[in-house]
């Protein structure tokens, strides 16, 4: 089986994997980073969003072997320390932007990418349009939209 090496949440990792292994499988099954979820098989739901070299991508649509040398960040890797939360995580909690929690890691990773691309002052319309690739079945998005706006503002501080 071919070998792949990448950096995940700042740590170098390697694995011998079948060619068809998806990045999300590699993260979940080989590295046991189960915060990245799988909610569909057609690249629609966004539960699997991670950052690849700083850019949000759906890890269900990437082969792990493509990630040779890449730097991957997952939900487990965004907090500044084990005892602190990232401001976007804090905003989701403060604004009740999650219920069952299953779409949440993907939502937070996408939200961070929205801030990267669109800045810290996000209006409701922009957030709703930009969340197109993430499906939540619990919250009706109302509080997710609030959370993303608040998290974006907090990240500017």
């Amino acid at each position: 089986m071919p070998k792949v090496s990448m950096t995940v949440n700042g740590k170098p990792v390697t694995g011998n994997i079948e060619e068809r292994t998806l990045l999300v499988q590699f993260l979940r099954e080989n590295l046991r980073l189960t915060g990245t979820h799988v909610g569909c098989d057609t690249s629609q739901c966004g539960a699997c969003v991670v950052h690849v070299n700083g850019i949000a991508m759906k890890s269900c649509t990437l082969l792990a072997l493509q990630m040779e040398g890449a730097s991957i960040t997952t939900i487990e890797g965004i907090a500044p320390s084990p005892t602190e939360l990232h401001p976007m995580q804090e905003a989701f909690r403060e604004n009740h932007g999650l219920q069952c929690g299953y779409c949440t890691p993907g939502m937070i990773m996408s939200a961070l990418d929205i801030v990267r691309r669109k800045g810290h002052d996000l209006d409701e319309h922009t957030i709703r349009e930009e969340l197109d690739g993430n499906i939540c079945r619990c919250t009706g998005y109302h509080n997710i939209v609030k959370a993303v706006a608040a998290g974006a503002r907090a990240m500017a501080k």
Partner: protein
């Protein structure tokens, strides 16, 4: 109100693990030596299985076992069952066809399992599954419930003619007929309540492990009610005796009803784990979920409402065909009967109601409860009839509603339910203010200037929640009681563990239940933990559905807390050498009336366990109490949702521009969580009204079987919502809670369709009201208008 007590918007305890990626969902659990189950599923809606050849597949790398329906039968594994008996109006019992976990001899829907491959990895399982050869002899299929009873329709199950499960009725047909004959106006509607796929974002999963040393089986699964799963799998399917089976439903990523039921895959994983001696895991792919998760709704209804000359409703009559799919799912029979027709009185004093329901088999995925379960269908019938009736009679829809609102409680409807509390005028009035109904005319004119058609629609809904008094549901055919259990364990250091039979899959019970305990015991919120979802730890409980966890589950906790406090008072009495009757308990402190003696909660807890101050003959050591709470009535949450839309007359695209919801949920424990529940419910209701539809072609192929074609509501499909509350306490439980989980999904579809039809001026609109549907309706209406001119 304390900062963490009842009524406080406490931030959730469960969030930390979810926002840091530390949740433990079933697929995240890994057992040593774990194998993967991959199912071979029928691509045909209806076919005989002529032959299954597993020889080539069995030689594939990594294959541990391949099992078929024949193996299942050889091992005498029982069928899945529907646990609610419905009798037809002629007195005959419903006709339940056998539902084996793996089909044997015949498949009855696309996705019906015909074999399972157990392999070392999922990829190897898939490779092998592709090599399982199944010879089918195709049979004609029927997917449309309206065609299932036709003479030339294929009969799906032996001995069940016309695919008819039951022909049930409720109400006085003759009295209703008389009322219609005396009516000044009759409104008639043909309604299709579109079939939906629940689509919790976590796909269903099961992991089973067998311990040969103890003969114990453990199942981790995505369940809303692990004890009921254990009971059914033991008592009916016969996999293992109840005490030898442990069911753990860890973090569950949304349910919406679809995770109540006992599914074939759980049975197969357990069976295969014992057979192979290896842990067996199955996780649905989304495509598989579309073909195996119980779907929701799917009613075809003709409904009529009779009015007198003053716009008073005289009677309602409805005839519904309910599609239950290829097999009867766990609670499927009750949804289009006792959870549907019993709510046809809405918020209105309707003297006579008659409803007939035919439940039919079709070659489609089984249909069962989905958020609201029967009550959205009832609300849609009632709220569409009232709205259309008002328009036909030239009356204001809000005014017509007010004229017919029930104002005195208790109110016995003609369809079983006895409403015990409510104030429907109050929620309507508040909603109309919040929605600025007065300013609607101006907004409509503004929209018209931009080529947009603006419409406003009401939905004054009611639901029966807090499901439900055991004796009442027993008399209606339920095979189970619908009480709930709780155990409150006070530790020697005074911290508290609550073990509840309710199950959370997004509702935030770890937070709200702790709020109740914090308030009642006066102890810090942080010192309370709530445990659920493990049959080895938690006493038998009934689980979460029907907006029951607050009204029933928390009432059980409240009852256990009363017992704990009573016992703690006894301990405090011994400690302070006072008479038990003189002990008062407030804010976490025990005092002796008329003295300055006091004992802190922690001290009393410790003394209960060290038992130095009393003898065993006087008082048992320990501080732990259990309660089984059975409610005295359903609860009746109700309210008013107002939807305002703008329809693009060129494209038919509907945009929801305002949404106002004023709900009466009785006591609210945590307003933040309640609002979240309402938001989510509205989104699912809007999804039904505008976007979602499980579409079968005439051959029984599901053609909207992925998120590419089944349109899930996304952030830009919805507005932010304006919410309000009114409050009348439920008298049927000690906390006054009514329940909030389903309200949005129940109220929303009628509000949306009432708004769209108001905007476009024609009632001929079906759900989902996609741009194409609305555009076509506009064209038909324009053509009709031109023809009339």
């Amino acid at each position: 109100m304390t900062a963490t007590g009842i009524g406080a918007a406490v931030r959730r305890k469960e969030d930390i693990r979810f926002i840091t990626g530390k949740g433990q969902y079933t697929d995240d659990v890994v057992r040593p030596g774990e194998t993967r189950a991959v199912f071979v599923r029928s691509p045909h809606a209806h076919a005989k299985i002529k032959r299954i050849d597993t020889a080539e597949a069995a030689r594939m790398p990594g294959v541990v076992a391949i099992l078929t329906g024949a193996d299942l039968a050889n091992d005498k594994i029982g069928n899945l069952i529907c646990g609610w008996m419905i009798h037809s109006k002629d007195g005959s019992p419903m006709k339940m066809a056998p539902h084996p976990a793996i089909a044997s001899g015949k498949v009855n829907h696309v996705g019906d399992a015909v074999a399972v491959v157990i392999a070392e990895t999922r990829a190897q399982g898939r490779d092998a599954a592709d090599k399982v050869k199944v010879d089918y002899e195709e049979l004609p299929a029927v997917a449309d419930p309206a065609k299932a009873q036709a003479k030339d329709a294929p009969q799906i199950h032996a001995d069940i003619p016309n695919n008819t499960i039951y022909q049930w009725s409720l109400g006085d047909e003759k009295a209703v007929g008389d009322a219609f004959r005396g009516a000044k106006h009759v409104t008639r509607l043909d309604i299709v309540n579109n079939r939906l796929v629940p689509n919790a974002i976590e796909p269903r999963a099961a992991l089973a492990e067998y311990d040969a040393g103890t003969d114990n089986l453990t199942l981790w699964n995505t369940s809303q009610n692990p004890h009921v799963a254990r009971l059914v799998i033991s008592a009916f399917v016969g996999i293992a005796p109840e005490h030898k089976l442990r069911v753990i439903a860890p973090d569950v990523g949304g349910g919406f009803g679809s995770k109540i039921f006992i599914y074939p895959e759980e049975v197969v994983c357990l069976w295969a784990a014992r057979k192979t001696g290896r842990p067996v895991k199955w996780t649905a792919e989304r495509s598989e979920a579309f073909l195996t998760d119980a779907h929701g709704r799917d009613h075809v209804t003709h409904a009529e409402m009779a009015f007198d000359g003053d716009g008073k409703i005289l009677a309602l009559r409805a005839k519904t065909i309910a599609n239950l799919g290829a097999y009867m799912s766990t609670f499927s029979s009750s949804i289009p009967t006792y959870l549907y027709a019993t709510l046809l009185s809405g918020q209105y004093g309707i003297p006579q109601i008659y409803c007939e329901v035919d439940a039919v088999y079709t070659n489609t995925v089984p249909v069962d409860a989905y958020r609201g379960a029967g009550r959205p269908e009832a609300t849609f019938v009632v709220e569409r009839l009232v709205e259309v009736g008002a328009r036909e009679m030239g009356l204001d829809p809000a005014d017509l509603r007010k004229r017919n609102f029930i104002k005195q409680f208790p109110h016995q409807t003609p369809v079983i339910m006895a409403y015990d509390a409510g104030d429907y005028n109050a929620s309507l009035k508040k909603a109309m203010e919040l929605a600025d109904v007065k300013g609607f005319g101006k907004r409509k004119r503004d929209s018209a200037r931009h080529g947009k058609l603006r419409g406003l629609g009401y939905s004054t809904y009611i639901e029966a929640c807090g499901i439900a008094p055991s004796q009442a549901v027993g008399s209606l055919g339920a095979g189970v009681g619908l009480w709930e259990s709780a155990e409150v364990r006070v530790n020697p250091t005074g911290s508290v563990e609550v073990l509840t039979g309710s199950h959370a899959h997004g509702q935030g019970h770890e937070t709200t239940f702790a709020q109740l305990v914090s308030e009642r015991l006066g102890i810090p919120f942080e010192n309370i933990s709530v445990l659920h979802g493990d049959t080895d730890k938690v006493q038998f409980g009934m689980g979460t559905y029907g907006s029951r966890s607050g009204a029933v589950g928390m009432s059980a906790i409240a009852q256990a807390l009363d017992k704990v406090i009573a016992k703690a008072k006894k301990v405090a009495a011994f400690m302070m050498e006072a008479s038990e009757g003189d002990i008062e308990f407030k804010d976490g402190k025990f005092t002796v009336a008329g003295t300055d003696k006091s004992a802190a909660w922690d001290d009393v807890a410790l003394n209960a366990y060290i038992a130095h101050k009393f003898t065993g003959a006087e008082l048992e050591p320990g501080l732990k109490e259990t309660s089984f709470y059975d409610p005295t009535n359903f609860t009746f949450p109700a309210g008013c949702h107002i939807c305002e839309v703008e329809v693009d007359s060129e494209t038919g695209r509907t945009e929801i521009v305002n949404w106002t919801a004023v709900d009466d949920f009785g006591t609210v424990i945590n307003p933040m969580i309640v609002e979240g529940q309402v938001h989510g419910g509205i989104a699912q209701g809007v999804g039904q009204a505008l976007l979602e539809g499980a579409v079968y072609d005439k051959d029984g192929q599901l053609v909207s079987g992925s998120f590419m074609d089944y349109s899930m509501p996304r952030a830009h499909d919805l507005p932010s919502f304006k919410l309000g509350l009114t409050e009348t306490k439920s008298p049927s439980n000690p906390l006054g809670i009514k329940g909030c989980g389903e309200a949005g999904a129940i109220a929303a579809p009628a509000a949306v369709i009432n708004a769209i039809t108001d905007a476009i001026g024609t009632e001929q609109i079906s759900m989902p009201a996609t741009a194409q549907t609305v555009w076509s309706a506009l064209q038909r209406a324009n053509a009709a208008r031109q023809a009339a001119e």
